[in-house]
């Protein structure tokens, strides 16, 4: 259907094999985990995740050093039949971010999912650690694949690894949450598959570069893009598909919630950006993109307002995820079809900074919320009084994560929202600018409402459990990254632009 020479696909670049290692090593570790059993689980996971970080940093350094993307043609089979793995600037960025957050979450969960000596093996810890490895592998696949069907496989692996983490605590409420999550996710993946079959029918290929080279704005393509987009929105939990997210993320154990909120929802968002910026760049009609931004704006407002009304801390943090995801959808309208100027670059950088800053801030905040629940034995917001005296580090973690969510300087959240705001104003989108500011104010309201409770006098004398210092420092460390990001200059970052499909 397409002449082979039209597929302008570069071959394997030096260091391209690292991309394969990033996907395969966690999977190999997973097999080893199942073979060797729960007693060796933590050591295998630690080794695999450290290796993951090494691979991600090497990939990032190679991409930054050569200012060109890494590529690996799997098995030497060129597209359209073969699959090319490719890491551009944002892939490398997300690989590093996910490796760091996985390591943080794994060290946080180190004690919780330990295998006690002399006891029969517990299944739960084995499930948790294998789900963690499966998510790490699936995310790297999502970040580097350039084939729409291969990306679908990555998306499904990610969902199937995330569901057990949601359901791991048992109990009717979390099982319901996991089931609702699964139903939404399968619905989303079926719509995605429907779009894929239409694309294959129209273009005879699923390789992103080959589709981008010949895309036409005809009815089949537009319908396909629509179905794929709606499917991915269901998985990203953008308003109005957000209902599954809060109970699912709030019901998981703290380390699981951190990974789910910081990384797993970003997986389908990453794919959505691959779709609109790399696969169908010429289809980005302003009116359609305004619709995505409009849903994002509704998510910001409704997510924040609902967060304010939550009685439980973990639910509040989860609704804040719904709101913060909304910001990321402004990128679709703020980066115009004919890109290239500094305003578009600022919006692009702002959106990715928002993804990264939210990842670290939310990981820190969910871990802090988990520690709160452990200290007090509950996470009811109105009974949080006295916490600042007993666990000051936890309150500090919550506060500096909140800084980034509100978008107060200095924090990565501030840089992100400032650049999005500047781009919105420069392009005359005053509605989105207003929403960005209003969202910040609302985030301030829910963060300060919680902080005020934490610093109030104890409401009732309660038996307080003690928590280890190590886990407090891990949560604080992750949250601090989101603040340190605020020290970067407020300027479009060239690294994020490396290897963008034109």
């Amino acid at each position: 259907m397409i002449p082979l020479q039209a597929i302008a696909e570069t071959g394997t670049t030096p260091g391209g094999a690292l991309l394969v290692l990033g996907i395969v090593m966690p999977a190999v570790a997973l097999v080893a985990l199942i073979g060797l059993g729960g007693r060796a689980a933590r050591m295998i996971v630690a080794a695999a995740l450290l290796f993951q970080l090494y691979v991600a940093v090497r990939v990032a350094l190679l991409v930054a050093g050569s200012a060109t993307p890494l590529a690996y043609v799997v098995g030497g089979f060129q597209p359209p039949l073969g699959i090319t793995l490719r890491a551009d600037g944002v892939s490398a960025l997300m690989m590093v971010v996910s490796a760091v957050i996985f390591l943080g979450a794994a060290s946080f969960a180190w004690k919780d999912f330990a295998q006690a000596r002399g006891q029969p093996e517990a299944r739960l810890s084995l499930i948790f650690w294998s789900a963690l490895l499966a998510m790490a592998s699936a995310l790297n696949l999502l970040f580097t694949s350039t084939d729409l069907f291969n990306l679908y496989v990555g998306l499904e692996l990610l969902t199937f690894a995330a569901i057990p983490v949601v359901a791991i605590k048992g109990g009717a409420e979390t099982l319901r949450a996991a089931l609702r999550y699964l139903l939404f996710a399968v619905f989303g993946s079926m719509l995605y598959l429907f779009g894929i079959v239409l694309i294959y029918g129209a273009y005879g290929t699923l390789a992103i570069s080959a589709i981008a080279a010949q895309v036409q704005p005809n009815a089949a393509t537009l319908a396909a893009a629509g179905f794929v987009t709606v499917g991915l929105l269901a998985k990203t939990a953008l308003f109005p598909f957000h209902l599954w997210l809060p109970p699912a993320h709030a019901g998981a154990p703290a380390a699981g919630s951190a990974v789910l909120s910081a990384l797993v929802v970003k997986g389908s968002l990453f794919l959505l950006m691959r779709l609109w910026f790399d696969t169908f760049p010429s289809l980005r009609e302003p009116a359609d993109m305004q619709l995505l931004a409009f849903l994002g704006a509704l998510a910001v407002i409704i997510g924040s307002v609902t967060a304010l009304r939550q009685p439980r801390l973990k639910l509040l943090v989860a609704y804040s995820t719904v709101a913060q995801i909304g910001y990321m959808f402004f990128v679709f309208t703020l980066v115009p079809k004919t890109a290239g100027d500094i305003v578009a670059s600022a919006a692009w950088t702002g959106a990715w900074l928002q993804v990264v800053a939210h990842a670290f801030a939310k990981a820190g905040m969910f871990l802090a919320a988990g520690l709160v629940a452990e200290v007090l034995g509950h996470d009811r917001i109105r009974d949080l009084g006295g916490l600042s005296a007993r666990a000051p580090l936890v309150v500090l973690t919550f506060a500096i994560s909140g800084l980034s969510l509100m978008g107060l300087p200095p924090s990565g959240g501030f840089s992100a929202k400032f650049m999005l705001l500047a781009a919105a104003l420069a392009e005359g989108h005053w509605v989105w600018a207003t929403v960005i500011i209003a969202g910040g104010v609302l985030a301030g309201a829910y963060v300060f409402a919680v902080l005020a409770r934490m610093m109030a006098a104890p409401t009732k004398a309660a038996e307080l459990a003690s928590i280890g210092r190590t886990r407090q420092l891990i949560a604080l460390g992750l949250a601090s990254v989101s603040v340190l990001m605020g020290l970067m200059p407020l300027h479009p970052i060239a690294f994020f632009e490396i290897g963008r499909f034109p």
């Binding site: 496989v153 499904e156 569901i163 009717a172 079926m190 429907f194 294959y200 005879g204």
Partner: protein, 105 residues
């Protein structure tokens, strides 16, 4: 009416039915069945695309046929997980319903 068009209409009809069932049926088992129906519709379209894109003398383009096998495996796994969750939920709560009970104060 050609066979391709007939299968195309059948697939589209299944998808429409499935989405309707997904929206109107509150019971999770019905929703799961609707999702499987949705999958069947989409997989049927894969077959249509394979037939339509076939080279002369071949029964079908092998690529969509290969893709659909992966799709079926994924749908099967999703169904298995959902059924496991449903059974666990039934054992835990005595009924398999997605309705939220009132939060404890």
């Amino acid at each position: 009416m050609s066979a391709v068009l007939l299968f195309w209409l059948a697939g589209s009809g299944l998808i429409g039915l499935a989405v309707y069932g997904l929206i109107v049926n509150p019971h999770p088992l019905c929703k799961l069945l609707a999702l499987n129906l949705l999958g069947s519709g989409v997989f049927l379209l894969f077959g249509v695309i394979a037939r339509r894109g076939a080279a002369a003398g071949l029964g079908g383009d092998p690529v969509p046929q290969a893709l659909v096998i992966t799709g079926i495996v994924v749908a099967f796994s999703a169904t298995a997980i959902a059924v496991a969750l449903l059974l666990a939920l039934h054992a835990e709560a005595g009924e398999a319903s997605l309705d939220q009970e009132d939060e404890e104060p």
